[in-house]
C-alpha cells in the first residue's frame, strides 16, 4: 500500500554522466517495494513530486536505491541532497513486474538509458528465483553507462551505445538476434525504444514499464494515462502501471 514516508539519504553519488545514485533508508519501503514500483519524491520548492523507479532494495539494511538523470530544475534540486537529509516520498507506488511465472527458465531484460534502473531490481529478484537472466542495456555513449558490472553478476549482458563508443554500436534491438532463447522479456526505456522492442518481439510474452509526467502519483488526477488496445480506454500509468503487458497499451 502506498504510504507517505520520510526517508533518510544514506549516500549520493554520480555514477555516470548526469546520473545520480541515491541510497535511501526506510524500513516500510524496503520491506514492501516490488520490482517495477516507484517512489514519488517531493522536491524542495517544486509543486509536483517526481516519480523515480526503485533500482534496488536491501532489506537487511532497510534501504532502497534510486537512480535518476539530472535533466531539469527538479532533478537538479533533488541531486543537491546530502547524506543525512530527510526526503518526503509516497511509496511504493504503482504495480510492479509480474514475477509469478512458474514455467519461465530464461528472462530477457531490455533497458534503455534511465529506463535501466528498475530492471536491475527485477533482475536480482528473478535471479533469486533461479531464473536465467540475459540483459541488453542501451546507452547514448560510453560515459552514460552504469551498472554494467551489476548486470554481469546476474548473467549474460550486452551493452549497446548509440555512437559506438562502447559495446555494440546501435540500438538494443540490433543485438536481439544474438541473444539465445528466452521465455519472456521485460523492458523499460524511451517510448521509441519500447515501440521497436515490442514490435520485434510481437510473438513473445513480455512486460514494459512506462514513464509519463505525473500529478498526484496515486491515480486521482488522471494526468499520466495511456490508451489501451481494448475497450478499457485510458489506463493510469501511476496506478494501473507503470508496468503493462506488451501489446496491452498503445505506444
Amino acid at each position: 500500500m502506498v504510504k507517505k514516508q520520510f526517508v533518510t539519504v544514506k549516500s549520493v553519488s554520480t555514477i555516470a554522466r548526469d546520473t545520480i545514485e541515491m541510497v535511501l533508508e526506510n524500513e516500510y519501503i524496503s520491506n514492501h517495494a516490488l520490482p517495477g514500483q516507484f517512489v514519488h519524491v517531493l522536491v524542495p520548492s517544486h509543486t509536483l513530486r517526481r516519480p523515480i523507479s526503485i533500482a534496488n532494495v536491501d532489506q537487511k539494511n532497510n534501504t532502497i536505491t534510486i537512480l535518476f538523470k539530472v535533466i531539469g530544475s527538479g532533478t537538479e534540486a533533488l541531486a543537491t541532497h546530502q547524506p543525512g537529509d530527510t526526503v518526503d516520498v509516497l511509496a511504493p507506488c504503482g504495480n510492479g513486474f509480474n514475477l509469478q511465472l512458474n514455467d519461465m527458465q530464461t528472462a530477457l531484460l531490455i533497458g534503455g538509458g534511465i529506463g535501466v534502473p528498475p530492471l536491475y531490481y527485477l533482475g536480482k529478484a528473478l535471479a533469486e528465483k533461479e531464473i536465467n537472466v540475459i540483459s541488453i542495456l542501451g546507452f547514448q555513449s560510453a560515459d552514460h553507462i552504469f551498472y554494467e558490472e551489476e548486470f554481469l553478476a546476474l548473467g549474460e549482458t550486452y551493452i549497446t551505445t548509440d555512437d559506438g563508443s562502447y559495446g555494440h554500436r546501435g540500438f538494443v534491438t540490433d543485438v536481439l538476434h544474438e541473444v539465445g532463447p528466452f521465455d519472456q522479456f521485460y523492458s523499460c526505456g524511451p517510448t521509441p525504444m519500447l515501440q521497436a522492442v515490442t514490435n520485434k518481439l510481437k510473438d513473445k510474452r513480455g512486460y514494459i514499464s512506462l514513464e509519463e509526467r505525473m500529478g498526484c502519483g496515486v491515480g486521482a488526477c488522471f494526468a499520466c494515462v495511456i490508451p489501451t488496445n481494448d475497450d478499457r480506454g485510458y489506463q493510469k500509468i501511476c496506478k494501473d502501471g507503470p508496468v503493462f503487458k506488451a501489446g496491452e497499451v498503445v505506444l
Binding site: T47, G215, C216, V218, A220, C221, F222, C224
Partner: protein
C-alpha cells in the same frame, strides 16, 4: 471550543474544508491515506453525459508555484459515476458535491437530471469554466448570456442546490457572478484555473499536448482572493473559495475575503494529507487571529 461548522444550501458541513473537483478523483485513492469522514465535503471529478476519454498526454506541467493541467474532463460518464462512485462516497459521513460539465446545454441538463435519482449527492457544482475542452466548458463561463442560460436550465432540471463554478478568465467577474445569481444559482464556487501555456525549450513546442492548460496552485491565490473579495460585495449567495490553498492561514484569508467554505486542489498532489492537516490546524489559526468560529470570519476582511 472553536466552531468549524458551516451551513450552506444543501450542505451541513462539520468543517469548511473540501478537496476541489478534479484533484481528488472520486475519493478512492485518498481514502487509502485517511478517513474521508474527516472532510467537510468532497467535490467529485466532473461528470459528463457519456464517458469522455480526455486529452492526449502530456497533460500536466509544473510552473513556478503551481502547475498547468489539461486533463480534458476524462470521466466514465454520469450513469457509471452514480452507479459506482457515489455509493462509495455515501459510505462516509461527508458532504458530496457533484461537478457537472457538458458540451451543450442539453448535456448539462441531462447530467443535472441524472443526479436527481440519487439521495447521496447533496449539491451540484456547475462547471462552466473548464479551460481544457474544445466545446462547452469555458465558453459557457465567459459569456454572460450563456452562463445565465445554462444556470437556469440546470436549476430547472435539478432538485439540488446549484453552485456555479466561475472562470477567472473574464474581464468582469462581478458581472458574471451577478448574472448567475439572477439566474437562480444557490451559491458560487471560485475560482477555476487560469488558461496558461508553457513551451518546452528542447522541443520548441507547447509542453502540454492540448497546448494550453489551466494554471493552479499558490501562483493563482492572490487572483482568487481578489475575485472573491470583489464578488462578495455584490452577491448575497454564499461562495466556496479555491485557488492555491496549502495551509490553514490560506483558509482564513479566503474566509476574510468572503468565502464561506473552501476547496483545496493542487496541494493534495504535494501532500495527500493536506486536507486533514488543515482541518486540525484551522482552530488554532482562527483562535490566533481572534475568531471563535469559521462563520464569524466570513467577509471580515472587506474594507467598509
Amino acid at each position: 471550543m472553536i466552531d468549524l461548522s458551516v451551513k450552506l444550501p444543501g450542505l451541513q458541513l462539520k468543517n469548511p474544508i473540501m478537496p476541489a473537483s478534479g484533484c481528488f478523483g472520486f475519493g478512492r485513492e485518498y481514502s487509502e491515506f485517511y478517513d474521508l469522514s474527516k472532510l467537510g465535503a468532497v467535490m467529485m471529478k466532473a461528470a459528463t453525459g457519456s464517458k469522455r476519454p480526455g486529452n492526449a498526454t502530456p497533460r500536466v506541467a509544473e510552473t513556478s508555484c503551481g502547475m498547468l493541467n489539461a486533463i480534458g474532463l476524462q470521466n466514465p460518464g454520469v450513469e457509471k459515476i452514480i452507479e459506482t462512485e457515489v455509493p462509495f462516497l455515501a459510505s462516509y459521513d461527508v458532504g458530496v458535491i457533484a461537478n457537472i460539465a457538458g458540451s451543450t446545454i442539453e448535456e448539462y441538463e441531462a447530467v443535472a437530471r441524472a443526479f436527481n435519482k440519487t439521495d447521496d449527492v447533496h449539491a451540484l457544482e456547475l462547471n462552466i469554466s473548464c479551460p481544457n475542452v474544445k466545446e462547452g466548458g469555458i465558453q459557457f463561463g465567459t459569456d454572460v448570456a450563456m452562463a445565465q442560460r445554462v444556470t437556469e436550465i440546470v436549476k430547472q432540471a435539478s432538485r439540488l442546490p446549484v453552485y456555479v463554478k466561475l472562470s477567472p478568465n473574464v474581464t468582469d467577474v462581478v458581472k458574471m457572478a451577478k448574472a448567475v445569481e439572477t439566474a437562480g444559482a444557490d451559491g458560487l464556487s471560485m475560482i477555476n484555473t487560469l488558461t496558461g501555456m508553457q513551451i518546452d525549450l528542447r522541443r520548441r513546442r507547447p509542453l502540454i499536448a492540448n497546448q494550453t492548460g489551466g494554471l493552479s496552485g499558490p501562483a493563482i491565490k492572490p487572483i482568487a482572493i481578489r475575485m472573491i473579495y470583489e464578488v462578495k460585495q455584490h452577491v448575497s449567495i454564499p461562495i466556496i473559495g479555491m485557488g492555491g490553498i496549502t495551509n490553514a492561514e490560506d483558509v482564513l484569508e479566503f474566509l476574510l475575503a468572503g468565502a464561506s467554505a473552501v476547496a483545496v486542489g493542487t496541494a493534495n498532489f504535494q501532500n495527500p494529507f493536506v486536507c486533514p492537516e488543515i482541518i486540525d490546524e484551522l482552530p488554532h489559526v482562527l483562535q490566533k487571529y481572534g475568531f471563535q468560529s469559521v462563520q464569524e470570519a466570513v467577509g471580515k476582511g472587506i474594507a467598509r
